[in-house]
Structure formats: structure tokens, C-alpha cells
Amino acid sequence: MNRNTVTGASLALLGGAALLIAGPALAQAAATVAAATPPAPVPNKGDTSWMLVSTALVLMMSVPGLALFYGGLVRTKNMLSVLTQVFMIVAIVSLLWVTYGYSMAFTSGGTGPLAPFVGSFDKLFLKGVTSDSVAATFSNGVVIPEYVYVAFQMTFACITPALIIGAFAERVKFSALMVFMVLWVTVVYFPIAHMVWYWPGPDALKATPTDVGKAFSWGVLDFAGGTVVHINAGIAGLVGCLIIGKRTGHGKEAMPPHSLVMTMIGASLLWVGWFGFNAGSNLESNGVTGVAFLNTFVATSAAAVSWVLVEHLAKGKPSLLGGVTGAVAGLVAVTPASGYAGPMGSIVLGLLVSPVCYFFCTFVKDKFKYDDALDVFGVHCIGGIVGAILTGVLAAPALGGQGILDYTVIPAVLPKTPYDYVGQVITQCKGVLLTLAWSGIGSAILFVLVDKTMGLRPTIDAEREGLDITEHGERAYNY
């Protein structure tokens, strides 16, 4: 989902495949063709199938996945508020995406000073996108239908803002939140997606090497959204819970999760859906997709296990909430690394991320006394940072990683030069800081703006009564 460093190999492979399938007679023919202007590539139906499925899987991550994961952790009286917020954020953002978001994120910004930060309005209302237009992948000569690419990317734009709400769950006004989200995706998400992921594709890059997003130009690796999605949402959540303030009764009243069953269902669907998120981010269906898939699986398992172990040592009991929280932390951490690392590297990543997140969700949170209700910062921002930085290490072929492909040659190849650990880690840190700064500052401004104008927080009585009934006029359960 950013310059994929691997699929060149499989491209070569596929290229070869084509020849083999076609046999000698065709071989030279093909050669001839290549020599002449190469034919416009057409989508492979296998890739298209996989991307359609991946898109559906990522939607499933938001609804019902994330909604349940979060909803189960709040008190009964606020269950519906969480479900409604997630559901409506997905609905609203998807409309913004097709109207102007896709254009802002995934068109060239031209040559102006803003070009590295945001795209153009050329594809407003999806102008020019047809059932025949195609989008580039990370392999030379491999494309997918643009409509599919639009839909796939849309699901990322939908889930990111939804992740934020967990930080200030149980104490925010629905209408004000929706307004905030419209502004937030416009000012924060679409630009960051452009900075990290926009490029003209493997075949065009050589011709227009500067037509790429800011972070992309630095060489930041983010396969599926460690920075764009998780660090971005995580820091926005922290800022939000600081500005909105603690829940009434926080620290005094017990606020146990009202249904860990829902949380477990949500976490499981997140795990299943995340394969679309990470392996889908390869944009085609090949061996690299396979390793991204496997990495996503084992990093999650490793993180679930290590969280439960840490907890076991610290508190004496392994819990379901610990297991599923660890799993999510693992999924977050492996997101930027999924297409770069190898399975063993991913396991190490998973084992490492949980203790760090655990530390933030318990000690740090207690110490600084912020009420990040559902640990959006502790799990998504911190987990994302751990993953983003370690991606710079785990991508190394020496560590079983897939290496970083050189797209200045066509077809792209792995460079002969040894892998630069230090350099890449520094690059990764730059990407992290850019995201933290842009999202942190942008979110702060927007939260204050909306708070001053509409007010973000319901009355204490309404909060006490519960947002389900006061904001939405419903009760979650009438057993």
C-alpha cells in the first residue's frame, strides 16, 4: 500500500509464468511486444477477486468488529452510543470519500508546494473513474480495476476515525462528534494518506520520481497503515480524551466492561478482517500476499500470548480481555510490517509489542491520570509506533524480511547494496513524528473548535443517565 518492496520478485516470476504458459512461439512475440510500446495492462481476475474480498473484510472490521470490541467494554447504558458512532462514522466518511476524499488522497498534487501533502480535486465525485479504468499495484504491469481500489481504500478511511472514539467513549455528544469527524478526515486523514501512500505506481515512478507524498519521498515503509491508521487515530484519541476530560465518576465508581463476550466477538472479527487489511494491502494475490497473511496471523498470536503472560506475572491471572487486547496490539504492530517482515520476525514483533502496550495501558495511564477509556492511545498509537519503527529492522532480508525493492529499474529488483538498518529506522521515526505532529496538532485544533462552537460533552445528568437513552432515545437491552 506504499511502495511494496517485494512483488518485483513475484512479478518476474509472473512474467516468466506468462512466457511459460504461452510457450516459445509466444515468447519472442511477447519480447517483440515488450520492445515496442508495452500493451496497457489489464486486471487479473484473481487479483480482483482478492481485493473485492479484502474490501468486504475491512468493512467487517468496522461493523460489526470494532463496534463490538469497543461496545463490550463500556457500560450497558452507553452501548448503543458506541455502536451508533462507529456505524454512522463509516456511513458518513464513505460518502465523503467518493465525493472528494479519494481525490484528495490518491491523485497527484501536481507540482505546487502543497503537492507532497495533498492531492488535487481532479477526481471529485470520482470523475473519470469507470469500470474500465485501472489502478496500479506494486508490481510492474499489474493493475486492478480502479473502482475496486477506490472501495478498498475507502474502508481504511472509514475505520480510522472510528478507532478514535474509544478514547473518550461514554461522554461525548453524537452530533458534535459527527461534525468533528467530517472535519478530521478532511484535514487530517486524507492528507496523511496522501503523504504516506501516494505514488504514481511502479511503471510511472521512473518517469516522475518526485510525484509522490512527503513521507513516501523519505522512503517511509508502511505496508498497511501503521502510521496512517493507527498512530494517526491513537494520538487523535489521546488529544480528544484530554480535551473532553474524564468520565464522571472515573476513579471513584467501578466501570467494568458490560459484555466481554461482545468484546471477544469484536476482537475475533477484527482478526479475521485484518487479513483483508494487511494482505489486501498488497493489492494483488500472490506469494507476498501469502506472507503478509501469515505474518498477520502469527504476530497476533504472539502478542496475545505475551500479553497474557505479562498479565499473569503482574496480576496473577490470565484473562480473556488480556488475550484479545494483546491480539489487537499485535495486529496493530504488524500492520506496517506485514508485507516486509518474515513470519519469525513477525512473531518477535508480536512478543515485544504487548509488554510495551501493557505498560502504557496500566502504569503510564494511571500515572498521568488521563481517561483513555478504551486504550486507543495505549494500544493503537503505541502499538503502531512499535510496529512502524521495527518495520525498519524486520524488512531486512537477513532477518527473513522481504527487503526494499528498487523501482527505478523496470521491472523493479532488490538492490545489491546491503540493507541499511540505521538509515531505515531513522526514516521510520521521521514518518512516525510527522504523523504524530500533523494529527496531534490538527486534532487538537478541531476538538477545541467543535467544543467551543457545539460543545462536545453532554450534561452530567445525561452522562449519568447514559448516552443511549439521552442521545439516541433507545436502550440496548430490554430482557
Binding site: K315, G322, T325, Y358, C361
Partner: protein
Amino acid sequence: MKLIIAVIKPFKLDEVREALTTVGVQGMTVSEVKGFGRQKGQTEIYRGAEYTTNMVPKLKLEIVVDDAVAAQVIEMIQQTAHTGSIGDGKIFTLEVTGAVRIRTGETNETAL
């Protein structure tokens, strides 16, 4: 008549009920309650947030009986609900001045 209120450990219900039928108790009303007392609740931990509730799940039995059998009923409950460990619960007795069976309109003892 007497209203006997017994707070017992949930898993003891069947035993107590069967015992009471043997002494002719024909009905009772049971509610799920949370008990607060000497017995301490289990500690719950959610992502490091610890809650030790002193509220323990109990069952409250309300039984209205003829004065004659009250003592026997109380004793029977005390014996069957007994485990000897903290939290076995209590039995309280109150005076009932009237009873009506809704179905028939019968009153007092005959209503039980």
C-alpha cells in the same frame, strides 16, 4: 402469619426448596440479590483496573407461613442452607397482617 425472609447462597436453592416442601410449604417467592456483609467478593481485573466488589450474588427467599410452622421452617432453612463458611446468609422474620389469593380471593391462612 409470618413473612420469612431468607438470604442464601444461590446453589443452595434446590436443597432448601425441597426441604421446605417436606414441611408443607407450598410456595415462595425468590429474587436475585446482591449481598453485602462479612463475605468479601472476588477481585475483578480489567486491563489492570482492579475492582473488588463487596457485593456477592445471593438469593432472597420470601415465604409467608402460618405462625404454627414458622419456627420449623426457619430451622429447616438454617439447616439446609448451612455450609459453615462465611456468607451463608440470614433469616429474618416479620409479622404479616393479611394475605389474599388473587385467583380465588381467599384470605389469610387459606390463601397460602
